[in-house]
């Protein structure tokens, strides 16, 4: 079992690196469209499934009492929105785009947290597919408006691959954290 804060920091750093890791030249072009949304998967894992793992820098975002009057949720949303600026620069998107996506997903997860806690793995996968598909639709719409990037099957491919990676990703994270999910 590893330290909570260290684990989350490492997980976020790894997801950032995976997000910009380019495939070898020999890899077929279509494989590039199937890259899972590592950052959003990490965000979902953190906010929804293991929110107790919030040591280190992440402790700043939470009040001592998790069931407070909404201050925690507001801080999470504002911090994630701010972190979106970094993602915008990393991915070359217009400022504000990734902040809006991250904050919207976190808002939904925090709003319906109790209900989502009872979901089976299959239900989680379906939920992740829908959330990431919608996020990719928004992303592609903005990129289409700004840079003329054409519509294609990318939102579907990204959402599908993220959905398929989710069980492996979540179970690995839980195992590294000691074998049990904490809320």
């Amino acid at each position: 079992m590893v330290s909570n804060g260290l684990f989350m920091t490492a997980l976020i750093a790894t997801s950032l690196v995976f997000s910009v890791f380019h495939l070898p030249q020999a890899a077929p072009d279509w494989l590039g469209y199937c890259r899972p949304e590592w950052i959003l998967l990490t965000l979902i894992l953190w906010v929804q499934y293991i929110p107790a793992y919030r040591g280190g820098l992440f402790a700043l975002m939470f009040t001592k009492n998790a069931s407070d009057d909404g201050t925690t949720a507001r801080r999470v949303l504002v911090v994630l929105w701010g972190l979106g600026f970094y993602l915008d620069t990393l991915l070359g998107d217009p400022f504000g785009l990734n902040g809006a996506i991250c904050a919207s997903i976190a808002f939904y997860l925090l709003r319906f947290r109790d209900r989502l806690q009872m979901q089976t793995l299959l239900q989680q996968m379906i939920m992740i597919f829908i959330m990431i598909f919608l996020a990719e639709i928004v992303r592609t719409y903005v990129r289409n408006s700004v840079t003329g990037q054409p519509w294609g099957l990318q939102p579907l491919a990204v959402a599908g691959s993220s959905m398929l990676f989710w069980p492996l990703y979540m179970l690995t994270a839980e195992r590294l954290l000691g074998g049990q999910r904490r809320t």
């Binding site: 890259r35 217009p94 400022f95």
Partner: protein, 295 residues
């Protein structure tokens, strides 16, 4: 939440309009919030470089291992090959210096505006953005090295792309194969002017709106024309791969294979815009004296 979304929408709009100006080379026209956002992006670009460097690390490690595992015989062969190539290049260089000087003087006599690249900066590619819909790379030279949006980027084989965003020590380069990219070019065999556009495919470019009567053959070399002042003239862009004329279209359907090694990760040259007439004349004199010195 609504406030955050509204702020995001406003930011996206402001940043997008600012980036359009920057990418068209009109940084001076940026003002207010858009200018502030451009500076923030420039600073933040330096912060994302470590992530790109880590993502590139496995490839760097693989290359290092390949170098280490090379045997003595192959290294000697490589050295022999490079020495031969160097001799050929030096011989070409001497002729080029003389021809450049002659060209500059003839242009002066004709009163023609000379266009010579003023300076070139060697840069290393340190990252490749993952989005397959956007062809771009990040290089390790920025404003501090004199790199600005709009500067052309070439590699050893030909035109590579152009700088669209800069921070103090890094720059974002859009490749010639990006859908957003177009190049004023000419056929080196016939001199016919044309526009070469990217279509988002890494090994393919297209010739846009070329009349069906145009003299174009497979294998023709297309080079930059220098029109517009963004790209210096004479850099190879690609060779014609396919030419197709159909009866129901007044235009040729033609595609190019880029000459630059766009998929390789290595070094590139950033070329500043063309020099002014006086600088070009000075360059001509310098080149002539260098040619005389060289024999």
């Amino acid at each position: 939440m609504v406030t955050l979304l509204v702020m995001s929408g406003v930011l996206v709009w402001l940043d997008s309009s600012g980036r359009r100006l920057v990418q068209s080379g009109s940084v001076d026209r940026l003002e207010g919030t858009a200018k502030g956002l451009w500076h923030i992006r420039g600073s933040a670009l330096s912060l994302v470089v470590p992530v790109y460097r880590i993502a590139k690390a496995p490839y760097v490690f693989y290359d290092s291992m390949s170098d280490i595992s090379s045997d003595r015989q192959s290294l000697l062969q490589q050295r022999e090959h490079l020495n031969t190539r160097l001799l050929h290049l030096e011989e070409s260089q001497q002729r080029i210096l003389y021809l450049q000087a002659e060209n500059a003087r003839l242009r002066q006599l004709l009163g023609s505006k000379a266009q010579l690249p003023s300076q070139a900066t060697i840069a290393e590619i340190i990252g490749v953005p993952p989005d397959p819909e956007r062809a771009a790379v990040i290089i390790d030279k920025g404003q501090a090295d004199g790199v600005l949006p709009g500067h052309a980027v070439v590699d050893a084989q030909g035109l590579f792309g152009q700088v669209i965003d800069v921070s103090n020590s890094t720059s974002w380069v859009i490749l010639i194969t990006d859908r957003e990219h177009a190049i004023p070019a000419r056929n080196s065999r016939t001199g016919v002017r044309m526009i070469v556009g990217g279509i988002g495919i890494s090994d393919r470019l297209v010739l846009e709106d070329l009349p069906a009567s145009t003299d174009l053959q497979e294998g023709d070399l297309i080079e930059t024309s220098g029109l517009g002042g963004r790209f210096p003239p004479g850099y190879p862009v690609g060779s014609v791969a396919t030419v197709e004329a159909t009866q129901d279209s007044p235009y040729l359907q033609a595609s190019l294979e880029p000459t630059a090694a766009l998929l390789k990760i290595g070094h590139v040259l950033v070329i500043a815009p063309a020099a002014t007439d006086n600088e070009a004349a000075d360059f001509g004199e310098t080149a002539l004296s260098a040619a005389k010195d060289a024999g």
